[in-house]
Amino acid sequence: MNPAISGLSSPSTRFASNGSAPVPLRFGADMTLSGHAVVDRLSRALPGLAADLLEIAASIHAIDRLVPRLTERQRPTGVVWTRSLRADIPVRDPDRWRQQIPLLSQLLHWLTDDDWSVEFSPLQPGAGMLDTPQQFLFETVPDGAVPVLFSGGLDSAAGLASELLHGDAVGISMHTNGWMDGVQRRVLAALNEASHHQCVPLRYRISVRNSTEASQRSRGLLFLAAGVATAWAMHQDHLRVFENGIGAVNLPFLRSQQGAQATKSVHPLTLRMVQDLASAVSGRSFVIDAPAMALTKAELLRCAPSAAGKALGLTVSCDVGFAARVPEHRACGACTSCLLRLQSLTAAGLTGLLPMDIHERKGHDREFNLNAMIWQATRMRACLESPEPWQRMVSEFPDLIHVTSLTQQEVVRLYRAYVQEWSSNEDAVRSRGLARRDSRTVA
């Protein structure tokens, strides 16, 4: 294997946090990024700009995971979890990237709540983590295949299943552990089984050693950068991202949540900022299309072809399960992602796809999280029943100001549908979780 691909001999990014002295982020030791599976499949090297984008995102992600945030009890009262982070990242075209530092800094602040100061230095030719000198055989990606981001979660699988009704696709994924890779492989195989069209998997792998911070708010950038870089490698200037509007906008469940405590990985503004960055740095318009943004998760599931049922059942939504490096780790059933999955599958009439077993992790309070979600729906209902629903929603949930890709009517319709789903299924969601826990105890 080319040592550059495995990151063994690559130069290092340097980073510093909260005023401390800079330290190296050793590629191959602290962090590895592998794109050889993608390069082999595409039979072409990633363009320099694409490799730069992905290596920047990977470096940011590694720093994000290596610098711990203070807990609420450790911070002064009334201060958010912001860190001050500096990074000097080697790239192939530093001048081009330096021009985009303001855009990149805004994006990183929006995603992570941190104050980022990013610099770029020159990378020695051929020394990047994604550089490859090898000769290529032949390309295995069908002509006209649409690049689609694929996480292995329910939304991306349902969206991809719908996409495959119309033509071939390329499923771009990024995995951080072998179990996640296995989930993504199994889901894609099941989707291909169920379709006349083909989805070609293009997988990147990243690994960060000795990480101390679990929040990973830059993860959205990593996934999107993988999508944009691969689209560029395919000579395409668009990327499809399937995420339901409720999960993408991800309004805070409680007003105690500040900024990125409610994740913004695929928020409409995140997509727009990444799209703007990709367009600005390449000098060509790039479009990130999110066709399910006006739909609830249950509505997105109803759009999926029934033949995709097996694939949807193999997906993983759990915050805990996907982050854990435990083979066959069961869904916790308590995190907000598990609960939204349960709510949407119940509302879509697909309860047969619910996991048969859950593993409740210590510290994850299912009742608190479920009540927080119902509390949010209660507040939404009060707004939506008023004579001026959009105004009341914006007043109650100021984050909606940032959702400019949907019209006011679409916003109101989206949340009305979501609130209605809760009204019809709250009892079922409550009792389902309790029944699962009881059955686990008996077992």
Binding site: V79, A214, F223, L254, Q261, V266, C335
Partner: protein
Amino acid sequence: MPDDDKLPRPLSARWRRVLNAFRAGESQEAIEHHVAKAAADTLRRTHGIPDLPALGTQMYLDAATGYGADSSSRRAMPTHIPTRLARQAVDAMSAVMKERLALTSPDTAALLLARRVVAEVVYAFGLDRMAPVLMGYGFDPAELHHRFESIAQSNPLGELAKRLLAHPDGTGLRAPGRRRLKLATADLMDVDIEEML
């Protein structure tokens, strides 16, 4: 894509007092006063919102000169939570009350903002953190929502907002005292005990 949302839920001693008041079935008026005290305590400990008067002026000017969502969405937000809440309130009020704000004076706009910010502090540090807990004790969410809205619009919090404008850095900020009925012993026989609490 999994989110791993963080839901801050610790309550300070003052806010735990409010939680206990709900659980003990204390009157709405009594709870409003507990909330005002807890909000004043939070604002003192977090050093208030020194920029509040300036933000009120900015909001008035936003309304008078026009507002664009893009300018706010790409701006760095402060790390100080009460100031962040105030900035979000300015953005939201400017977006949905533009015409009304343009017809007010800068002072009235500042007072409207102060009331809104005090309510946001109350929710962010207290009521929203305890709502899921109270629901766990059997409180109906719709009823709880109605009671919380009444608290946010109550006189003690309105008075606290005026005081915050006078002491925006929170120094010496105190909740208004609770007015108690002073009646002759004979008259007390005709007063409902609930009113006295």
